[in-house]
Symmetry: C3
Subunit: 150 residues, 3 copies
């Protein structure tokens, strides 16, 4: 008895490179909508989504997206915790925000993993997905999206 | 020559929503056993397990589970690093533990990824899986489990 | 009409246990080459790679691998942020680096997730994969690699 064809080809993968332009320099840039749109375009209903940033001076973060003061407070906290131009830093070729950007990245994340159910990432009501630019100057950041599922 | 049927359907997924009640408020709550039990119930032997918390003021953490002083010390460290009611915080609608909970979450993780081998997460001898509640009051926290494998 | 056989068996998994010897004690140890070699050996072209360390006093980190002062600066920063032998720590059976190693691990990561495209992890130009040993003494650290893809 032949098995239905969809069993044979059901599990599959998709990947896509997204560019996020951090136009204002150091700040948080939400790209939840771009992420949802891409997941939706793959037609994968259930799976596992990975978001990976190919840099070491910018982070990915899932945070509260309703009240912008959360991001402002987080930035103030990190600016105090990891002082730009800290005299203990020797790596400063690209300015006072060079090494602090690496440390901020080490203390946060450069990849996110989010289950997909019902064709969408299972983000909670208040969760948004952000690129956190740690350099002062605007940058074009490459973010790789990968989804495996069916 | 027909291929054996198990090849056709071997790779599959399972997902489940777990609720963890942080009954004592700010503290670490181990749910390693619930996680192992659910993985075991799926009958998936080899795969990749994702644990994702749908909130921005509680974390997931894999830590030493033998000596409870590790968790007490970690809490003392974070309480000093991220002071509740810090005057630099403007987001304080829900009290002095509101913004500090967001910062603690940003500095830790809201998802875990653990390979599964032999029908169980490959945790080391001393590794336990915890929900880290950062708010003072008890909360019901939604944790999504996702497993892909065969 | 029969479907081609490669559809039936294309999605698959591989896993491997790697041992990283932190021969100089507290420091960062790059193992990007070992990781690339293992991915290459699986013949999986597109997939999702998980790297998981089965310990709670050493981390995994993706960081700048060109200039060694980045790692030295990161270590100086963490040594100041999480003082060894901090009087607030009660868990000190194994010495002043015992609890600080757990805190450093909580503030960084014990697993990495990296998409694989073209038979290789999609690391950026300056990204290297490191084991971050937080104990003073050399240790043999078990790192589990898992790859799912096709």
């Amino acid at each position: 008895m032949p098995l239905p064809a969809f069993l044979l080809v059901s599990m599959r993968q998709a990947h896509h490179q997204l560019t996020v332009f951090s136009s204002q320099g150091r700040s948080l840039y939400e790209f939840t909508r771009e992420l949802r749109d891409w997941v939706s375009s793959t037609d994968i209903q259930v799976g596992m989504l990975t978001v990976f940033i190919q840099h070491t001076s910018a982070s990915l973060l899932i945070q509260e997206n309703a009240d912008p003061t959360v991001r402002a407070d987080l930035e103030r906290f990190l600016a105090r915790l990891v002082p730009d131009g800290d005299p203990i830093f020797q790596h400063r070729q690209e300015g006072p925000d060079d090494m602090s950007a690496h440390v901020r990245t080490a203390l946060t994340q450069i990849y996110l993993v989010i289950p997909v159910v019902g064709g969408a990432p299972v983000l909670g009501t208040w969760q948004g997905v952000f690129l956190y630019e740690h350099r002062y100057e605007p940058q074009r950041r490459k973010v790789l999206l990968h989804l495996i599922g069916e």
